[in-house]
Amino acid sequence: MRKFKEFVFRVFLHTIIVLSLMALFSVIYFIVIRGARVINWEFLTQMPRDSMTAGGIFPAIVGTFCLVLVAVLFALPLGVMAAIYLVEYARQGGVVRIIRTGVNTLAGVPSVVFGLFGMVMFVRLFGFGVSILSGGLTLGIMILPTIIRTSEEALLAVPQAFREASFALGATKWQTIYRIVLPNSISSILTGSILGIGRAAGDTASILFTAATFYIIHLPRSVFSEVQALPYHIYGLLTEGTHPQAQIPIAYGTATVLLFLVLSMSAVSIVMRNRFRRRKKW
């Protein structure tokens, strides 16, 4: 009887894991199999034509790239410095607890709320308008917690002995951080940050009111231009426009490009991080 229960338990768990993996995989498969049919060199490098029913998605690719670039330029220095404070300077206590709670809470804020904040703050108050800059900064704030956490993990992985050796040579705290700790952790900080970048590239709700537009047939001219972005383009192709039927195949292609972009970046980040973790012995 015990053996039988044990057997049922195993079968049950096997069923669950297979079911979960199949469900998630089928989402990707369903889209990629249809998207692959429309993707070719022209699709990736051409402007949209015939009121969004033909041509390529080049502006959306460029737009997403610009948004992500602004987000990273904003969030990476900020996040790394915050992590340096938390790991290298802070003594455990009230201040650190407050900062930690702040980071965790920020990580749980829905992206549409970031969108509202960005709309009021960057679009209106700072007068950046609906633009790459507004959207990029909004995305940057959104991925800040991810960057702080991965940077913290990377800094903590640098052995304490490295720091002690540096202090023993008479180096100051700052010299130690700058010359020893950062060079030894920068690669894992960067690979960890790719996870945040993937999130920024795929997020729609936060750029809905801050950066994205559907009808545009030229490339962004400056950081103050509104842009097409891959995730918003998928939404736009489904809900806007005059020829929904002709737009659906393009949406499949766009979704496939977005999936490829986000999943390949995340895969690189996850694999590299696991490798770093395993090699922690130095």
């Binding site: 015990r2 229960k5 044990e6 195993r10 049950f12 768990l13 096997h14 669950i16 079911l19 979960s20 469900a23 989402v27 369903f30 889209i31 900020l78 410095m81 915050a82 404070y85 938390l86 290298e88 300077y89 802070a90 900062i99 702040g102 980071v103 965790n104 809470t105 749980g108 804020v109 829905p110 992206s111 549409v112 709320v113 509202l116 709309m119 703050m121 704030i141 917690p145 705290k173 700052w174 996870l195 999130r199 795929g202 997020d203 729609t204 709700a205 809905l208 009111f209 995730p231 998928i234 489904l238 659906i248 949406a251 979704a255 977005l258 999936l259 986000v262 999943l263 995340s266 996850i270």
Partner: protein, 297 residues
């Protein structure tokens, strides 16, 4: 003297880093300020009771307009609840499988794969919902339209699944091996050990994972904008269309005139949404520290 300077400079650098470390707090404060600043004025148009418990959301094309968000809050709770009915059994089961049953090699593959699934952008789930899943639901239940609370729930559940699996698996794996060995030494089987030793020890951590998943589901915008159907009425069944909080903000922000009660009401919804996710974060944090204390971490 030189040494004094050096120390002074060191302190200065420390304060610069401290300043940047406070950035998250700063942005959080900014978000709260912006939401309430733009959301509270709705209380000049309706009372708090009418806003939260009002049964009708008719901000446009109705005279007088009604700003009751009760059906909208219920819409969010329904799809979140529905999502959890899918994501909790699958997620916790999958986590137990990866942590306790899978061979080390399989574990090495399954963990990153799950994490990778967690990176699928939400708009892709929404797209999948519109083109594949909603038509399926429509045919399955013989409905006029497939955009329902049920369709949104299942997709949200799938979306929250990787979060729950990844976090629960970490938790279950960090239950000290000693506990399990003691149980095996008493002659218990894997099943008995898992149910009576591992899961009770991991329970607070699993609750954290579930609440993180719920936070993701309730705050998710694109899936519910595209798949939930968008009708702001009090839901009576899962086969009806609903309009959750995030979808309302996303769908209507574009058409709300700046400074109008409608705009303030949308920010008011933002306040309620933020308050709910904040509550989730606090509860998750509580359970997480209870778990860490419980296993002596």
């Amino acid at each position: 003297m030189k040494r004094f300077f050096r120390r002074g400079k060191g302190k200065g650098i420390e304060y610069i880093f401290l300043f940047f470390a406070f950035a998250s707090i700063f942005f959080l404060g900014g978000i709260v300020f912006v939401l309430f600043r733009a959301g509270l004025p709705i209380l000049r148009t309706v009372t708090l009771g009418e806003f939260i418990l009002g049964r009708y959301w008719r901000p446009l094309f109705f005279e007088p307009p009604a700003y009751g968000i009760f059906p909208i809050i219920l819409g969010s709770l329904w799809v979140t609840l529905g999502a959890m009915c899918i994501a909790i059994p699958l997620g916790v089961g999958a986590a137990i499988y990866i942590a306790e049953v899978a061979s080390p090699r399989l574990k090495e593959i399954l963990k990153p794969v799950m994490e990778l699934f967690g990176a699928i952008p939400s708009v892709v789930y929404g797209f999948f919902g519109v083109v594949a899943f909603a038509p399926l639901i429509m045919r399955l239940f013989d409905l006029p339209i497939g955009l329902t609370a049920l369709s949104a729930s299942i997709l949200l559940g799938l979306m929250a699944l990787p979060t729950i699996v990844t976090v629960s698996e970490d938790v279950i794996s960090s239950v000290p091996a000693l506990y399990k060995e003691a149980s095996y030494a008493l002659g218990a089987t894997k099943l008995e050990t898992t149910l009576k030793v591992v899961l009770p020890a991991a329970f607070p951590g699993i609750v954290t994972a579930i609440i993180l998943g719920m936070g993701r589901a309730i705050g998710e915008t694109m899936v519910v904008m595209m798949v939930a159907g968008g009708s702001p009425v009090i839901p009576r069944s899962f086969l009806q269309p609903v309009r959750p909080m995030t979808a309302t903000i996303g769908l209507e922000m574009g058409e709300a005139a700046s400074g109008s009660p409608h705009m303030h009401a949308l920010f008011g919804i933002g306040c309620v949404l933020f308050a709910m996710t904040l509550l989730f974060s606090i509860i998750a944090e509580r359970f997480s520290s209870r778990f860490r204390r419980g296993v002596g971490m």
